[in-house]
């Protein structure tokens, strides 16, 4: 497909980035560095950032240099010293009005140009539509054409634009994957749209950047850019119905606990991928195939899952699940489930491949 960038300009942009001050001082191990661009759009913005940065450095050095020079040079030497009384200089003043204005005009032109290339409302092509919903405090990710709904990890193929509808039924969130694309707010009341495009396979960090309440800090997600084949295989696997546990197994007990309305799980979670209205908790279809959970702050393994089910409040203070389960065992409000229940539920969740 023909897009607005070429491999060459991308490489050039990345080269420029690597020459900057920022690349010299740190980079490795900072997955949300905006200058660590892994998409043409992020590289375009990083490029513009670098131009602005160096212009700013030049202005700063000029001002600071003059300031320090004047302060050192013109100190008072005698108590009765009287300097000449300059009231101004029209030519100088016109200069330092016009020169900044010209620089800003150039920046303005670059702004408009770059906006055309990376604007969230200007997708370079129509690709795969997805809906990303900001929840408290995790991300729901939905592929409406395949009727797949998952959470925390956005899978996408290389070389295809993902057209993202941003949806919220609660407060404002903001969708951001620094290495791939700038942020767009997720506004309740009307769905904004944006797009992402990636051509380098890998896993990229994303995070909510609009303050959305108690656990705003722990509302992360990941974007997995995969080869088209891998992506299709993943999407296929997600459409399969949930595996039925063998009767009498621990998993079957777990399923029973899960489905018992008294335990409140099904009030907020579903185990089948669906396009029914959003629930407060993540859809758990194929939960075991996900790398992370709870706003993508914990790796999905037995140990973390057990600890989560034992005491969700300790794992993520103020989360809605801990609140909802507080009345389950009033004598221990933050330990809503018994050890047996936790073990069975963990086994069941782990079976949802």
């Amino acid at each position: 497909m023909r897009l607005f960038w070429s491999q060459k300009s991308r490489l050039l942009a990345i080269l420029i980035i690597s020459l900057t001050f920022f690349a010299l001082t740190g980079c490795a191990g900072t997955p949300q560095d905006i200058l660590r661009a892994y998409s043409p759009a992020a590289a375009e913005i990083a490029n513009l950032f670098n131009i602005l940065f160096w212009v700013s450095v030049a202005v700063f050095v000029l001002v600071e240099g003059l300031l320090v020079f004047f302060v050192l040079r013109y100190q008072r030497r005698a108590q009765d010293e009287h300097p000449e009384q300059y009231h101004g200089n029209t030519r100088l003043e016109v200069t330092w009005t016009l020169v900044p204005a010209l620089i800003l005009a150039v920046v303005f032109a670059l702004t408009i140009q770059t906006m055309g290339q990376v604007g969230p409302t200007n997708p370079p092509a129509q690709g795969i539509p997805i809906t990303v919903a900001g929840q408290r405090w995790w991300w729901s990710i939905e592929y409406p054409e395949a009727k797949v709904r998952t959470a925390g990890i956005l899978h996408m193929p290389t070389g295809q634009v993902m057209n993202v509808a941003l949806h919220s039924e609660n407060v404002i969130h903001s969708f951001w994957v620094p290495s791939l694309m700038g942020k767009t707010d997720v506004m309740p009341g009307h769905d904004n749209s944006t797009w992402i495009y990636g051509n380098i396979p890998g896993t990229y960090s994303g995070q909510c950047t609009e303050y959305c309440g108690t656990q705003h800090a722990n509302m992360l997600f990941r974007v997995k850019v995969q080869s088209p084949e891998e992506f299709q295989a993943w999407l296929q696997s997600q459409t399969a119905p949930a595996v039925e546990p063998a009767p009498g197994s621990l998993e079957a007990t777990g399923k029973e606990i899960f489905l018992n309305p008294n335990n409140k799980c099904i009030g907020c979670h579903s185990i089948e991928s669906t396009d029914a209205p959003l629930q407060d908790g993540p859809n758990l279809a194929h939960f075991a195939s996900r790398e992370c959970f709870a706003g993508c702050i914990y790796e999905n393994n037995r140990d973390n899952l057990t600890r989560w089910l034992e005491n969700p409040e300790a794992m993520k203070p103020g989360n809605l699940m801990a609140k909802a389960l507080m009345t389950l065992r009033p004598e221990t409000p933050y330990h809503p489930l018994t050890a047996d229940q936790v073990a069975a539920l963990t086994a069941y969740l782990e079976s949802l491949k």
């Binding site: 008072r76 300097p83 009384q85 770059t114 969230p120 407060v171 009307h190 950047t209 303050y211």
Partner: protein, 613 residues
């Protein structure tokens, strides 16, 4: 020098607590503002240090997420509404009438009323900590998170109503400044001879008058949503969260200039004084004040580039935002022009002013980066913005306020602040500030979002956060030295003459501290720096033809000084009581409202019945 002595009704100052409660003297009200706001600045600073301690290392556990969210909300609200704005008002109150050669503000009792509203507003906001939880939706209070559905506690109600009180306080203060500056200037002080600090306060006051109604309306709509079930901001009923953002930022962006314009004025006065030169390009400076304030009303949506407003709107607001940089640049270069070939005396006040130029420039430059829409899409709502706004409000407003304190403290008290402690304060502040706020820009580029109570080690932000925290504590140590310096200096004997810094403007043409009536005589005004002309006629091109001033009225004129009055505090208390009545209305059957109205009514009657002088 024309000296005209007049008959004076009273020359000694009243003393005692009661005299402070009933005072209508602009100097005392100014000092009340400065002390109260100074204490709130201290509280806001302590909140900042708790925040920085929490973030010093990943997975911090000093405070819970809910407490953290209250802390950053209160830090922002406090620093803006209870520290920087009233500190500006405090200096304005003390200095503006002196600078324009007036005896007091135009409306002395209204002035006192404004102060008491500010005090009660601040106390109301802070009482929330003890009465069911502080506000926790950020100083920007984005709907719908402030709605009862998402925020059922009482904190937001405290926030709404105390901001309304503070808003009324600011409006009456602004009206008072405008009338005072337009009507009470000394003979000869035309509008194009106003000292630039007075210009700054005048422009700030005009901004307040036009900007505050917008947030007042926004808050009233929110109050209705929370109390009476309207749905102005609730999308579930076709309300619009963006309505809040537009109303809020229509106030919120001019608010930045409301905080920074007086700082520009202070810096201009200080640089000129300690350089023994006039301000370079006075006319351009005055026009830049006007230009920045006008443009500041047309840039509000640059806070909203990521909200999905149309690209055309993005471009227009980006263009206007770039435009602000032009008059700001004029100011920076004119300040440099002012010290160029001057005779610089490196007092602490001058050091802070020079530090202001160097550091505020960074705030301006990072502002241009944020106005660049695509770059904004990456760095908005990251620590880059936190760094930027602190470079504007700390490196801008606070450094100027520190400078102003060292500059005018001898005028206010007759005592000098210790210069050695002042230098320690300066260097700690500069080094600490660069460590904390410059690093914030960088950590924003590394992708750290704002308003997060914790972060994971995997993000690679540990080192930079630790550096920021160390910087914050250096700033805190500097501030501690500053407060100690003030306390020590207040215990010293009075050593300051009327004009300790070789000043240029009229506040230095009277004793330190000035008498109740400010001036017994008035020197002629024929330029923005009348005292300089009077002292160094040979060095002033205006000296040839000083316009003679006769204030004596043939030696029979009476100085009219306003009577102390108890009624401003009664009226302010009644109004505050009424708002507290609304705050707890649902629980108390709205009983507080009529009680408050009655107290207000009593206050008004008393106010009107009392002769003004």
């Amino acid at each position: 020098m024309a000296t005209n002595v007049m008959t004076l009704p009273r020359t000694s100052e009243p003393t005692g607590l009661w005299s402070w409660i009933t005072t209508v003297d602009h100097k005392r009200i100014g000092i009340l503002y400065l002390i109260t706001a100074g204490l709130f600045f201290l509280i806001g600073g302590i909140e900042a240090l708790i925040i920085r301690t929490q973030l010093a290392a990943p997975n911090g556990t000093l405070v819970s997420p809910d407490v953290y969210n209250e802390l950053f909300t209160m830090h922002g609200t406090t620093m803006i509404f209870l520290a920087v704005m009233p500190l500006n008002t405090g200096f304005g109150n003390y200095v503006v009438p002196l600078m324009i050669g007036a005896r007091d503000m135009a409306f002395p009792r209204l002035n006192a009323f404004g102060y008491w509203l500010f005090l009660f507003g601040g106390l109301l906001l802070y009482s929330s900590f003890f009465l069911g939880g502080a506000p926790n939706a950020g100083w920007f209070g984005y709907a719908p998170m402030t709605e009862r559905a998402f925020n059922p506690g009482n904190g937001i109600n405290f926030w709404i109503l105390s901001l309304q009180l503070l808003g009324i306080s600011s409006i009456v203060g602004a009206l008072n400044f405008i009338v005072t500056i337009l009507n009470m200037r000394a003979p000869g002080m035309t509008i194009n001879r106003l000292p630039l600090f007075v210009w700054g306060i005048l422009v700030t006051s005009l901004l307040l008058i036009f900007a505050l109604p917008s947030i007042t309306v926004a808050l009233i709509l929110l109050l209705f949503d929370r109390y009476f079930g309207t749905m102005f901001y609730l999308p579930s009923a076709q309300g619009d969260p963006l309505l809040w953002q537009n109303l809020f930022w229509f106030f919120g962006h001019p608010e930045v200039y409301i905080m920074i314009m007086p700082a520009f004025g202070i810096i201009s006065e200080i640089l000129a004084t300690y350089s023994r030169k006039p301000i370079f390009g006075y006319a351009a400076m005055a026009f830049a004040f006007a230009g920045i304030s006008f443009i500041s009303f047309t840039v509000w949506a640059h806070h909203m580039f990521a909200t999905g407003i149309s690209p055309v709107a993005d471009i227009v607001f980006a263009g206007m935002s770039f435009l602000v940089a032009v008059p700001t640049g004029i100011k920076i270069f004119n300040w440099l022009g002012t010290i160029w070939k001057g005779s610089l005396r490196l007092t602490t006040a001058f050091l802070f002013a020079a530090g202001f130029i160097g550091q505020f420039t960074i705030g301006g430059l990072s502002g241009v980066m944020l106005a660049t829409v695509p770059v904004d899409w990456q760095i908005t709502d990251t620590y880059f913005v936190v760094g930027h706004l602190h470079y504007v409000l700390f490196a801008g407003a606070i450094l100027a306020l520190f400078a102003g304190t060292y500059h005018w403290f001898p005028k206010m008290t007759g005592k000098f602040l210790n210069e050695r402690l002042g230098q320690a304060h300066f260097w700690l502040t500069m080094i600490g500030m660069i460590l904390v706020f410059l690093t914030m820009h960088y950590i924003g580029v590394l992708g750290m979002p704002r308003r997060i109570y914790t972060y994971a080690p995997a993000q690679g932000w540990d080192l930079w956060n630790m550096i920021e925290t160390i910087g914050a504590f250096l700033v805190g140590l500097g501030a501690l030295i500053f407060f100690i310096n003030i306390l020590i200096s207040l215990r010293q004997p009075k050593t300051s003459q009327g004009d300790p810094w070789d000043g240029q403007t009229l506040e230095w043409a009277t004793s330190s501290p000035p008498p109740v009536y400010n001036f017994a005589s008035m020197i002629p005004v024929s330029s923005p720096r009348p005292l300089w002309d009077a002292k160094y006629g040979a060095h002033s091109e205006f000296a040839g033809d000083p316009k003679k001033v006769d204030l004596s009225g043939g030696g029979t004129a009476q100085v009219h000084l306003p009577n102390p009055s108890f009624w401003p505090i009664v009226l302010a208390f009644g109004l505050s009581f009424m708002l507290v009545g609304i705050l707890f209305g649902p629980e108390t059957g709205w009983l507080g409202v009529p009680i408050g109205v009655v107290i207000m009514f009593v206050g008004l009657i008393g106010w009107l019945a009392q002769p003004a002088e």
